[in-house]
Amino acid sequence: MPQTASPPIIQIENLNKWFGKLHVLRNISLDVAQGERIVICGPSGSGKSTLIRCLNKLENHQQGRITVDGVRLDDTTRNVDQVRREVGMVFQHFNLFPHLTILQNLTLAPIWVRKLPRKQAEEEAMAYLERVKIAEQTHKYPAQLSGGQQQRVAIARSLCMNPKIMLFDEPTSSLDPEMIKEVLDVMVGLAQGGMTMLVVTHEMGFARQVADRVVFMDAGEITETAEPGDFFARPQTQRAKQFLSQILGH
């Protein structure tokens, strides 16, 4: 359960973003408590990925304020680096480093950013690889692994930086159906361990199982926020009803 006593670990206030003339995020305001698990869903083009990418400055915003763990996310390198150390991200297309082994993928950032000695970085990496059940692949290269295995490695790689918040940008959308479960299981395990998570996904089963809140976005706005049970049983807006009927219909 999220800790409601402490201040929100993420505060988004009146966030507005344009891609040129296109207004892609409209007046987004959202508070995320520490330990909260939020699933962000909505039709494609609604701005869900753009929103979470603003949280680690992979995208810039033109108006509004984003505060992550007390650090104001502005244009200063120091603040951006500080936030990026606290926030891990898992991508739709895994983005593992193809020229490095699995172990090297995991130890790169701990060695060069956290300045850990190699041995310690490797020990921690092995622990995370065991946690995502992929320890036997340490000396292989990403191309030798399946999609599901690669994504689990990607999750372990982010965890090696000991982030306080994990962002997931459609983590299972590139996977063959039989591999989705192994990745979702890892994410459920992470959630049950108390990690603050923001997950952009179409996997509504995952939302039902683990999310504290579902945030529904449409055309750059947050149109509806509710607990999963309420959201799936009684969607308030027409757009949400339409979306759910399409997603859950097949």
């Binding site: 680690n56 400055k57 992979l58 680096d81 990026r84 150390r85 926030v87 891990g88 991200m89 991508f91 297309h93 983005n95 593992l96 480093f97 193809p98 020229h99 790169l108 950032a109 060069w112 950013v113 990607a154 790689r157 982010s158 930086m161």
Partner: protein, 223 residues
């Protein structure tokens, strides 16, 4: 006078061999110095071209376009014969290394740029998301992946550079062609020139073959 006696005169060839070998050493020295300096400067220029603030990016583009548009011989002659009128006098070695390095750097910069731009954006994003500073991202993640796309055209550039060292003969640098031309004048016989040509081919043919193999390998991998 037979053709062999004129063009493949073994006596004259043997007599001019020491001079030609001295010239070859200078050719290789000049070539490697220009390749070395040109590559390093080219990498820096490509990074400025890609990532510096707008004003510097424009300067980089002008630099690259300028030295790709000017013949290397013209650059060399401007430095060696025109600069002295401004009071700047360089030796033939300095002029040659300067001219060749600058032109090499312009061509290299474009090769590096293409290689770096070929690395998927997701690689940059994953490294950034892990908190890796940009310089480390380039060194540890991007450049190692860009190398594969860079090697074939760079090898071609290196072959061209070594061939173009022959231009330094116009500023009296004692490289291979210069020595051969002198030997030809001395002996009133073109055999030394033929031998120099054979030396160039013997030296560079393996590299030319290598470039073809590397280029074909890049094509097939793309399919």
């Amino acid at each position: 006078m037979s053709l062999v006696h004129t063009f493949f005169n073994s006596q004259i060839m043997l007599a001019s061999l020491p001079a030609l070998l001295r010239g070859l050493i200078n050719t290789l020295l000049l070539g490697f110095m220009s390749i070395g300096a040109g590559s390093v400067v080219g990498l820096l220029v490509s990074l400025v071209r890609l990532y510096a603030p707008k004003a510097l990016r424009v300067l980089a583009i002008i630099y690259i376009d300028l030295f790709r548009a000017m013949p290397m011989l013209v650059v060399l002659i401007l430095i060696y014969y025109a600069l002295p009128f401004l009071g700047v006098r360089f030796s033939s070695w300095t002029s040659a290394v300067l001219a060749f390095s600058m032109v090499m750097s312009a061509y290299s910069a474009e090769v590096f740029r293409a290689g770096i731009e070929g690395v998927p954006a997701g690689q940059f994003e994953a490294a950034a998301a892990l908190g890796l500073p940009f310089a480390k991202t380039l060194r540890l993640v991007v450049l190692p992946q860009a190398i594969k796309a860079i090697v074939p055209p760079m090898t071609g550039n290196c072959v061209s550079m070594i061939k173009d060292t022959s231009l330094a003969s116009t500023v009296a640098l004692p490289e291979l062609l210069n020595e051969a031309t002198n030997a030809q004048a001395l002996n009133a016989n073109p055999s030394p020139l033929i031998m120099a040509a054979l030396v160039y081919v013997a030296l560079l043919w393996p590299m030319v073959r290598l470039v073809s193999i590397l280029e074909r390998r890049t094509q097939s991998r793309r399919v």
